[in-house]
């Protein structure tokens, strides 16, 4: 399935469009998607640190999705770097 990952904060530098699209297996976990994204960034945005990707959370509009969760059917996700509000 095609997955669209919306970028925020420091990860906006990874793609000026504000999102990244990846092809992922249908029954893919968030952990697997994280590996796919890391490989994609290594190729296409090498200035983004691997460590930052490891510290990011994935989320739907409703909730944080930890590594064991499967991709939402919509294929729409956000990737959230460490937060710094307030």
């Amino acid at each position: 399935m095609k997955v669209r990952i919306t970028l925020f904060g420091a990860l906006r530098d990874a793609d000026t469009r504000g999102f990244i699209e990846l092809e992922a297996p249908d029954a893919c976990t968030i952990g697997t998607l994280r590996d796919l994204l890391r490989d994609h960034l290594r190729e296409n945005a090498p200035h983004i640190s691997v460590n930052l990707v490891q510290r990011c959370a994935f989320a739907s509009d409703d909730e944080i999705l930890h590594n064991h969760r499967t991709l939402p059917e919509s294929g729409q996700l956000a990737i959230l770097p460490p937060v710094s509000g307030g």
Partner: protein, 178 residues
């Protein structure tokens, strides 16, 4: 009417002539109630120095739908821990702010001051550590940097799980500029 007010205020769509886009008076009005004798309010503003660098302004990036859900969930946790009547107001700015602009307002109204202080402290710490919000600082030399933050990968820490233990809320390993 709900006892919990949550908002994201987009600075790019608020008129510069309007009194204050994020308005402490509106927060006080919301949490005021004939039942309540105690109100506590936290107002976070943009300051001109951080970690020894001169700041000219900041920009906030937010994942708005999840930020609003997070504010609401924080309010409901505060209410269940206070265990009595409470009104809570949480509003955060989005977009570009100048020095002195209001970035965040949290206000709590309760029958007595102790619950108001505790609910307000709990809510602002939780907003800082849990809400999907990112701060980019702009410096006088033209450089910009995203602030180091709190990872959302881990489940919420026990230290932030109770209203009473707010003194532990910053007891984690990295340093904050706040």
């Amino acid at each position: 009417m709900s006892d919990i007010y949550t908002a994201v205020v987009d600075m790019s769509t608020t008129s510069p002539d309007s009194a204050t886009p994020l308005d402490p008076a509106a927060a006080l009005a919301f949490v005021s109630d004939p039942r309540f004798g105690g109100i506590d309010m936290f107002v976070g503003k943009v300051r001109e120095h951080n970690l020894g660098r001169l700041v000219t302004g900041i920009s906030y990036d937010l994942f708005e739908p999840l930020a609003l859900r997070t504010f609401q969930a924080i309010g409901e946790r505060a209410r269940s821990q206070i265990g009595g009547p409470m009104k809570l107001y949480i509003a955060h700015a989005k977009g570009d702010l100048r020095i002195g602009d209001v970035a965040v307002i949290v206000a709590a109204g309760t029958p007595h001051r102790d619950e108001a202080f505790r609910a307000c402290r709990f809510a602002i710490e939780a907003v800082k550590h849990e809400a999907p919000i990112w701060k980019q600082e702009h410096y006088i030399d033209g450089d910009s940097a995203w602030s180091e933050g709190c990872s959302l990968c881990e489940e919420p820490r026990d230290a932030e799980g109770t209203v009473a233990k707010h003194e532990n809320a910053e007891g984690h390993s990295h340093t904050h500029g706040h």
